[in-house]
Symmetry: C2
Subunit: 334 residues, 2 copies
């Protein structure tokens, strides 16, 4: 069966926000599944801020996407052909299939998904890498304890909104930082955050000082830049800063800015620790079990922002992550 | 007995390096010891990079020295009068007596010193705050382990030279970063460092990459700025960066610079932790016992840079810390 594949390849390394000319759209016959392989038809693509960092050259926690390669992306699809003993036609699977309609895989890094548990977009969000990142970032690296004050940046994003809810479930006081009044309203009124700071509405440091007069115990940072500096200025003794991302810096055409007041870590006897969720792959089931339980009990709300319209919408949809377009997990339906 | 005291008071908050006009030199009759107090004649002053940070206004790990106050400094002296039950005339004592010839104290924070163990300058250096900082910074915060690669900045300074020697004693590979060929020679030939990098002689990052191709496991930083960035670029997986000071930033007239590549902490799954030795005051005896033992066995060398000439030399001697004048602990003999 010859199928028409459509792909987005990286055409150039972006300077600042990715431009249309940084992508190459290609249509070609979809590859067939070889021995020990299967073929997936993608249904949903996960769009994540980290994707922007993969487009840059140089050393990072994963190799960069090379020019001329299909853009890397997590996705969920269903198997349409299989020569693999463990994957059957009709299975729903999740994996790094890339920005394309059809992908061939040998099953490495691919998970079978039970869509009776939750629909596919939820499995890419709360029960996917985003929720798992929030879970281990707070529980394992941040070591949150009941009664502590926990701050989350990009709090309306896919990781942040789950992180704030987990902190709340664990008995912490939860403050989210997000851009815009509507996002802040959703955080407090719909997702149960104790407070939200609209960074577009004024001095984050000042607002945080008044909301957390005894200081911030744990900060899960997805943003970097001025927001990181504002929170560093408000740390409690022995605070833990968990570095999960730095979305404010990924599109910077200049050299990224480090936190000028990093010596607040000394003042507060605090730590700042970098963390990559992929290191926890063996413990994903532990996170998924607990997250699923909270969804089941209604304590954890799942929030997705699904954009319809197929793969052609990929370049413009990706930009929403950097212009603040989404609340919750951004997913492109194919 | 009326004695002529001489003091240096902070006259103005310096911009950049402290100028003569930032100090007020005052001669006046020395205060008498009241009830429960004793009077000390200072013999040696400890000069430390952190003193520069105490001259700045604003939140830090200790309150700033106020304008018109005697400049804060650690010192060693002998008691000349006492109305205190636990301190006797003739006792040698160490404490934060300030930059002056005579000080009155109620004994709070003052330690009795056994000069038969080691001469006073050593007690301000290896067996004083500097050595204790190196000890807990590496052992407790950095958690050095045998076989690891340990890097120390300001390695010819009072904390750095001891830290490098401790790491070596504990079976680590030790690399010091210092300014100038002669300092680097002393580190390797006299103090037993495995290697030294002269930051004045070229690209620190490049030199470090070639000296530590498998990456840096523990970095005790006293410098900040470009040296911190260079080491962050060379971290091994799971590295620990211990923030002990930031001497490159204390005299900055502009806003301090944060490490632009702080997200290397994420790439390396590394942590950066601030640390203040005063938190370990109850455990000082533990450090002093081990450090004394190593001095006794000849494994640890004590290195002081004693400047003669009395209190009038204070302002110019302090500057040596920032111009790289000293190798080992800088002490002013009164």
């Amino acid at each position: 069966m010859t199928l028409a594949n459509a792909q987005y390849l990286l055409a150039a390394r972006p300077v600042g926000l990715p431009k249309p000319s940084d992508w190459e759209y290609r249509e070609e016959p979809a590859a067939e599944a070889g021995e020990g392989q299967f073929r997936v038809q993608l249904d949903y693509l996960s769009l994540d801020p980290a994707m922007r960092s993969w487009m840059n050259a140089g050393r990072s926690y994963v190799p960069p996407v090379e020019i001329g390669e299909v853009m890397r992306a997590q996705g969920i699809g269903h198997i349409i052909d299989s020569n693999h003993p463990k994957f059957e036609v009709g299975d729903t699977v999740s994996g790094a299939f890339g920005v394309q309609r059809y992908a061939v895989s040998d099953g490495k890094g691919v998970q079978q998904i039970d869509t009776s548990l939750a629909p596919a977009p939820v499995q890419l969000g709360v029960l996917g890498i985003s929720g798992i990142t929030a879970y281990f970032g707070l529980m394992d690296v941040g070591k949150i304890k009941e009664g502590e004050t926990v701050v989350v940046s990009a709090a309306a994003g896919s990781v942040g909104n789950v992180a704030g809810q987990i902190a709340k479930i664990k008995g912490c006081r939860t403050i989210g930082i997000a851009g815009g009044a509507e996002k802040c309203r959703v955080l407090v009124e719909e997702l149960g955050f104790d407070a939200a700071i609209d960074y577009k509405a004024g001095d984050v440091r000042k607002q945080l000082r008044s909301l957390a007069p005894d200081g911030v115990d744990v900060f899960l940072d997805n943003v970097g830049g001025e927001i990181l500096e504002a929170v560093l200025a408000c740390l409690a003794r022995g605070a833990r800063v968990v570095l999960s991302g730095a979305v404010s810096q990924y599109n910077s055409a200049e050299r990224p800015k480090g936190p000028a007041n990093y010596m607040q870590l000394l003042v507060a006897r605090a730590s700042m620790t970098g963390f990559v969720v992929f290191d926890y792959v063996k413990r994903y089931p532990e996170a998924i079990a607990e997250l699923s339980g909270w969804i089941g009990s209604g304590q954890l709300k799942s929030r997705e922002h699904v954009v319809e319209g197929g793969i052609e919408k990929f370049p413009e949809t990706l930009l929403q992550l950097f212009t603040g377009g989404n609340t919750g997990k951004l997913v492109l339906a194919l």
